[in-house]
Amino acid sequence: MAMEMRLPVACKPLSERLGQDTKKHLVVPGDTITMDTGFMQGHGMHMEEEKLIVSVAGSLICVKALKPRYIGEAGDIVVGRITEVQQKRWKVETNSGLDSVLLFSPMNLPGGELKRRSTEDELAMTGFLQEGDLIGAEVQAVFSDGAVSLHTRSLKYGKLGQGVLVQVSPSLVKRQKIHFHDLPCGASIYPTPEHKEEEAGGFTANLEPVSLADGEVISWLRNCIISLVTQRTMLYDTSILYCYEASLPRQIKDILKPEIMEEIVMETRQRLLEQEGEGGTPEGQDCGPCRSEDCDVWSPYVAQ
């Protein structure tokens, strides 16, 4: 058995560790940001009397929420948990401001057929997904109040089986074109506002026990993701893969120790830096926090 007790160590602030000199200030709702006329209004603030004056192009101020919620967009793939079964739909919880909705009709049934709506079908639907089930789905539309409507029209969506769900802040998940990743190490990852690593997907959940080797890989990845999140690093397939490779020489349970976590994430960042070069926004990608293609503060691997 392993037992480790230690004295606490003061951790250095993140900006010092990264060697950045960007200044950040903490604001709460109601604070005045600036009275300076040289700034342009950005996301997360509004103008009130003379407090923020919109003027010609200057610096952009961005206000980022400390604990952001997921804001849906059509085409996103999400992982959610069924919270309620209603008359014609399921309510799904996806860590956004409001519950998402999955309608009965565009469901993918076992066998891959899309069934047309009728009353017997609706009654039968309640048997497919129950409260507490985990599903993968795609965002169909976003309502005006921000609620999201989901669908599972293709075979790759549906009930998720054995595996581990890791919930992370939505600001750390990079938007990408392909969302289902089958990593070389064998597990599949669905980067969405909630992360999931698992062995089997499909409509009926696979409840067979997971083998030891697979279980180890899943635990490894889970710990890697948690260490990336604790060190505020953007999550996408490359960063997770590099982190996994950097952590291989160590034992699974050691990854979560503070000093080893720092080491592994530093190594990951180093590799990502070498791979992507320095500064600026690469083509075709937008900044995670403010979704602008010309963001000056964009960084591929640090969420601020």
């Binding site: 392993a2 037992m3 007790m5 004295l7 606490p8 160590v9 919620r69 089930d133 959940a205 349970k253």
Partner: protein, 299 residues
Amino acid sequence: MRDGGRKASVSMGEVGKRHSYIVMGPLEDLRVDGRGCEDYRCVEVETDVVSNTSGSARVKLGHTDILVGVKAEMGTPKLEKPNEGYLEFFVDCSANATPEFEGRGGDDLGTEIANTLYRIFNNKSSVDLKTLCISPREHCWVLYVDVLLLECGGNLFDAISIAVKAALFNTSIPRVRVLEDEEGSKDIELSDDPYDCIRLSVENVPCIVTLCKIGYRHVVDATLQEEACSLASLLVSVTSKGVVTCMRKVGKGSLDPESIFEMMETGKRVGKVLHASLQSVLHKEESLGPKRQKVGFLG
């Protein structure tokens, strides 16, 4: 628990709890975070974190954060034990720990933990209460032990017992003298030297080891998710020599006698290692002296 900030939280598939991923892991000695069934998460202990107490300690076990403060005050001995002082426990489950503790939600859990602490200390050898006596039947020291739950991340009892032991180790009680003059009236004189104190011996103070039954195996130091999958747990209170002072079963499920015996043996084994680690950390901290850098709450 849901956290948008620096932490990532983990959920388990609720489909078929008996077959879920968390239940199958311990069979192969591999839990979700890679630990074995008898491995603890990393523990951080720091004493002397609260300045206006006689002794204090803060323990972080994974996401569980406990703060214990001990205040020594003068009181009257209990009638049935005139030569001894005593300990009083009070547990406060802060609403910051988890939303379930909002309002009066944490009171039940707080009372349960306090009652468990009373039970494990309710024997002659845990703390030498005679050292707390000032003058028999008249004055004694009462140690008020206040436990504050700052954050709830599973395995509360273990973390609390470690924190209580560390706080008692850190406690220094001022040395007093009883002066009796010719008329027979007694006066209590406090020593002038602020460093002239009595330290308690915590050699026999027990620690609690919680063993949760998950599926067919039992695990030590369960996270919140593992506790949700566990139907029954056994709390074993063990001293540093491996002596069991008290045992309690919690949970709705049943345990058969063989499991209980196995879990108790595991508890004794794990408890001895726990005590040894705690002793070495506390001595190491003390050896750094008064000039050590205190991390406290802003580190």
